[in-house]
């Protein structure tokens, strides 16, 4: 039979769930929370145990979920959890331990508005929490920002690959809009799960039972010897540096001749993409730098564009978090302004274009 493309109409959360199954996931541990409950629901109805042998378990809390992920990751398994903002706050303890023990895993935050219980509507106000740490200690995790349902799917395999390449956590920082919206998704072939033998061969550090041919393995984030612990932390930092050098991802939309620039990610980037079209129809040369990795952040690309454009407007569904990194990249070269909607409101393309014009174009004094 000739291979036909497997294209489906799916919710973002469902695409993520189908993505992890097809990427060879061994275990998913999660707890329901709006707006990402479809992940656990989808996995439950898929009978993953029969499909691929993948374990799906509803835990008693997000705290338990992330520590179940820790246990599985310590055995070299491809493990996943997902949640939304309040649940992700609960998981911060586990993230810190995973970082300290250098365990690979895939996480997803379908961000909703905060602080506190906030709202179930989409938001991007967990940027700092995701890219600046969140839990205690000096650590980072790779943060991928999908802007479509297709990317919710695609980033699962990419996430696993990066997680195991660097022995690190990878977080997909989505939002309530991307998680809930339906779009077409092109699916790949099933990647087989690794056998225990393959895992042991590939990852000699895993705890799978001490055999006579090796020393015991242990997974820990503890080292009470200050000198050793400093060396360990420097090793972590070197790893994050390497990630910054190798893994920056972004998309330039109409940037080549841009005089004004949006910087955005996720849902906001979709809004900006339309605003770019509207602006260009009016004769304003606007471009969009869409961030795909939030850590590592594309500081260099931002710096390059800062020399080219006359103004940068960051669009976020937050009070202004990513703008701090944009300003670090710009380093004073050009004016950077922020516009964001809060409370779970998505800005409209006309709205952000209007802000761009108000802040940079209408105030421009022509010689």
């Amino acid at each position: 039979m000739s291979a036909t493309k497997d294209i489906r109409l799916m919710k973002g959360n469902e695409a993520f769930a189908e993505g992890i199954i097809r990427a060879g996931c061994d275990g998913y541990f999660g707890y329901p929370i709006t707006p990402q409950s479809e992940v656990l629901e989808y996995l439950s109805i898929q009978k993953t145990k029969e499909r691929t042998g993948m374990v799906v378990l509803q835990a008693e809390s997000e705290i338990a979920s992330i520590h179940m992920v820790y246990g599985g990751a310590g055995c070299g398994k491809r493990v996943v959890t997902s949640s939304s903002s309040p649940g992700i706050s609960l998981m911060q303890e586990g993230f810190s331990y995973l970082a300290g023990a250098e365990l690979p895993c895939l996480l997803m935050n379908v961000v909703r508005g905060g602080p506190g219980l906030g709202t179930i509507q989409p938001s991007q106000s967990d940027y700092f929490q995701a890219v600046k740490g969140g839990g205690h200690g000096d650590y980072k995790m790779i943060v991928l920002a999908p802007a479509s349902v297709q990317e919710m799917y695609d980033f699962t395999k990419l996430g696993f690959d990066l997680a195991f390449k660097y022995r690190t956590q990878v977080m997909i920082l989505s939002d309530g809009a991307i998680g809930q919206m339906m779009e077409k998704v092109e699916l790949d072939e099933q990647i087989p799960r690794l056998t225990d033998e393959e895992i042991i061969k590939k990852y000699p550090w895993v705890t799978t039972g001490k055999t006579s041919d090796r020393e015991r393995n242990y997974i820990t984030s503890l080292d009470l010897n200050p000198a050793r612990h400093e060396i360990l932390n420097r090793k972590f930092q070197a790893k994050f540096k390497k990630i910054e050098q190798n893994e920056v991802r972004f998309e330039r939309i109409d940037c080549d001749d841009a005089e004004y620039l949006f910087v955005a990610y996720g849902s906001s980037a979709r809004v900006c993409e339309k605003a770019v079209q509207l602006g260009r129809a009016k004769g304003i040369k606007i471009g969009l730098l869409r961030l795909i990795t939030l850590f590592p952040f594309p500081y260099d690309e931002v710096a390059r564009l800062a020399k080219q454009v006359e103004g940068i407007l960051t669009i976020e569904m937050s009070a202004g978090q990513m703008i701090e990194d944009v300003r670090l990249g710009v380093n004073g070269a050009v004016q950077v302004e922020h516009f964001g909607r809060l409370g779970g409101i998505m800005p409209a393309p006309e709205e952000v274009l209007n802000v761009m014009e108000e802040k940079f174009i209408k105030t421009k004094v022509y010689a």
């Binding site: 541990f29 008693e60 520590h67 179940m68 246990g71 705890t207 039972g209």
Partner: protein, 260 residues
Amino acid sequence: MLETLPITKEEICKPENLVYSRTHLMTDAALSYCPGCGHGTIHRMIMEVIDEMNLQADTIGVAPVGCSVLAYEFLNIDMQQAAHGRAPAVATGIKRLMPNKFVFTYQGDGDLAAIGTAETIHACNRGENITIFYVNNGIYGMTGGQMAPTTLPQMKTATSPFGRNVETMGYPLKITELIAMLPGTYFVTRQSVHTAANVRKTKKAIQKAIEYQKLNKGLSFVEIVSNCNSGWKMTPVEANKWMEENMFPFYPLGDIKVPK
């Protein structure tokens, strides 16, 4: 008439006469525990059973936060160190993905019965096929002897310096009895290691727990009431006596739930 001994010390101490030595499943590292602390004995009993059942290559242990946080330095098996209280969740993750391995947690009373209560109760209630070794000494040892969920009424600790007042500080938690009520647990017992006879009983309980894990019938839970002579501010021998007189009446030894 004084008989001269027919055998010299050198003749006795030959390999063929060896009747007891530390199992090779304990590493050579000096234990970080205080003199007389039960942890060392409990570690050794678990390792003896794993050795005798030839399970070293099939065992994954989970160490807690507390005095036994460094258990992986002493036990010559693969181990994971868990966050405070989360060992049952970590063990769940391991066992679900490695169902043919023997998976156990080793937890103290602060770890298991305070901060980790939810993880403990739910792992037990799900009937996870893991084994929990629960060391109860009624105090937070590592942090310096503060009040634990298991601290006895009127017992003095660093944070109950005038004795635990149950009216303001709550009651000691008999979590083992609570766990025994859950349908997910298969074998629940309470032992001690302060005398040789009790060590032998504890070892039997450990053997049973491991055998039951192979049956996939649910969670086995072995509490070991132990001493904390540093926290209790007694000599090790006094601490063992105090434990008999005060801990055992409140935490009576014996099986609490046995398979029918």
